[in-house]
């Protein structure tokens, strides 16, 4: 059985990592890149463990207890990885491996490096000790290009709906719920697992429909109320926004192709009528919502993001 059995899907990335382990020749740095919640960190941890325990079993227990002397895991301070953390890592890296053949640094949030920390890291990435292996992980594309160019990229992709459904069924989620969540999770196991915590996933679509009607009826008031409601509850927010995206996607598909069989949710077909001829605009809004959503993982007040996002939606309605 594969060491990476815990990582769902991602066959290409896993095959690559296994080949690297097999060869025993490591690059100085790997950048695991892909959307949140698709198994990057999980794969990187396993990769780190395999590098550190090659040819010996005694490291594995230490690694599992988080105590392996040749493993460094950078921590973030609030929403940033600071230069002090990078310096701490560099001091640590100045020593030879204690028991393994390499020293592995796992940097789980490369996109959260402050510019100073990123620049400090560059110097080490440029001339690392020969025993160093860096594993950088990023949800987003906005890592310093100079860092990217010093790393071997390992790409991770959104998971297909059936695979997520399988994971959820494995977690013991009832089949009906699992199917809805898998469709809503946009390829992310992490999002899917957050959604299972919600009691009324099945009604998410209805609530989105209701909200869209509410906007056309009450305008800004509805937006302000919703933005505030979504600020408090992360699960509710994730659910609402993914449902919103799915509905908008359906509307775009319906408007542009008119084919009901491509819809994620049949119920969305009714909405398409009010958007006829506005497909391009709607698609733009959808892209914008997706990019605004990424900001939730950064250091921005969620309420502001909610407001921006919902007003953008309202604008589309007006234009439409």
């Amino acid at each position: 059985m594969s060491k990476f059995a815990n990582v769902v899907g991602q066959t290409r990335a896993i095959r690559f990592l296994e080949a690297v382990l097999e060869s025993g020749r490591f690059q100085h740095a790997y950048l695991f890149i892909g959307p949140p919640g698709v198994g990057k960190t999980r794969a990187a941890r396993i990769f780190a463990r395999e590098i550190l325990t090659r040819g010996s079993t005694k490291g594995a227990d230490l690694f599992n207890q988080g105590q392996h002397p040749d493993y460094f895991f950078t921590r973030r301070d609030k929403a940033r990885v600071s230069i002090e953390e990078v310096r701490r890592m560099e001091e640590w890296l100045a020593y030879r491996p204690y028991m393994a053949s390499h020293r592995v640094v796992l940097l789980p949030e490369a996109h959260l490096l402050t510019p100073e920390a990123g620049n400090a890291l560059l110097k080490t990435l440029e001339e690392p000790p020969e025993y160093a292996v860096f594993l950088l992980i990023s949800d987003q594309q906005d890592v310093l290009p100079t860092i990217v160019s010093r790393c071997q990229e390992v790409r991770f992709f959104p998971l297909p709906v059936p695979e997520i459904e399988q994971v959820l069924l494995g977690d013991g989620v009832p089949p009906d719920k699992a199917r809805v969540i898998a469709q809503l999770s946009r390829g992310s196991v992490k999002t899917a697992r957050i959604l299972t915590g919600h009691s009324a996933v099945e009604q998410a679509m209805l609530r989105v429909h209701f909200f869209l009607e509410d906007i056309s009826r009450r305008g800004e008031m509805a937006i302000l109320e919703k933005a505030e409601a979504l600020e408090k509850d992360e699960v509710e927010r994730t659910l609402f926004l993914t449902a919103l995206e799915s509905v908008l996607r359906d509307v775009v598909v319906m408007v542009e192709s008119g084919r009901e069989d491509l819809l994620l949710f049949r119920e969305s077909a009714g909405l398409a009528g009010s958007f006829r001829g506005k497909g391009a605009q709607l698609r733009e809004v959808l892209m914008e919502i997706t990019s605004l959503q990424k900001k939730y993982w950064t250091n921005v007040n969620p309420l502001l993001i909610n407001l921006n996002l919902l007003f953008r939606l309202r604008q589309a309605f007006k234009e439409g």
Binding site: A94, Y95, R96, Y98, A120, T124, P129
Partner: protein
Amino acid sequence: MKFSIAQPELARITSVVQRAASTRDTVPVLSGLLIQASQQNGLTLSATDLEIAIQANTPAVSVEDDGTVLTNARYFSELVRFLPENDLVLSTDETRSRLVITYGRSESHLNLYNPEEYPDLPVNNLQHLLSLPQIVLKEALRKTAFAAAANHFRQVFTGVLFDIESDRLRVVASDTHRLALMNIALDTPASQPQQFVVPARTVNELTRVLDDSTEPISIGFTNHSVVFYRTESGFYIISRLLEGQYPNYLPVIPQNFVASLTLDTRSLANSLERAILMPGDKQATKQSIRNVVLDIKEHELNLSSYSEKMGELNEVIENTVLEGESGLQVAFNTRYFLDIVRILQNEASQLSLHFTGSCSPALIKDPQNDNYLYVLVPLLAT
């Protein structure tokens, strides 16, 4: 395990060893102190955080039962320090696996870690490199280590270089703005040439435990770690090394000078102690640096320090002897300059400054001693 020992002796070796124990509790056993009592070898204490390890031994103990225990180093050492200066009895209470320290009618019980989880200290296959008197090593470290960088992205600059070639040892530290070098002639040649960089923390611990005697301390190697040790007293400091190539430092030491100035060390020291009080001016992008400008005249040296905010200081040091051209102006970081003058003040009445120009490195030394050199890069005079 059971043994009795005089409190001052236990406190002495505990205080030396416990400093190697880890202060973070990510790995609990590493904050432990390993206590090994044996009728044959006496009492041995060890501590390590995997970067540095210290072990010390004393025969001044009477062991009734052999044994090994692992207890919290910080707490044990603090406790022992404050125990009465009498004989202490340490034993394990087998049923509850605790360490019992008995002093008079009082006793204290300490919880134990499992000693089997403790890493082995690699003191066995030790390769001897060289030996030198303790006082010589201590002096060399005291007079060089301060020049190392507090932090630098090239980690080797945060440590102290030991450069060994047959019958001489050079101890070097630099932060790229200054460099201190001590040349030591060895009585017996080293077993092989070697270069390695010792972390600042190890140097600190080493200067703390070395004494001012001519008793030898040995330096050796074991799996990529350096060991400073005295076999007869069972004392070992094992330290991992900073990896990386230390730059070739010899070309940095200037050879040809445009001017050489010899002057009274004490007068210079006094002037600089006053000059360092003058705050540096904040520059837009960089940190403020306290600086002093040297104006070299035929028979005197003018020192000035200026601060926009605070004022200025102009000092004249007379009776200087100049070889080479006069009229040179050089600006130094006052702190870096004072560091060396303070050291030389204690051992040389005269000090010589050798200049290669106003923007190139100067060499500072005791004119009677070519074995201790300090290279200082000037600031750009504004």
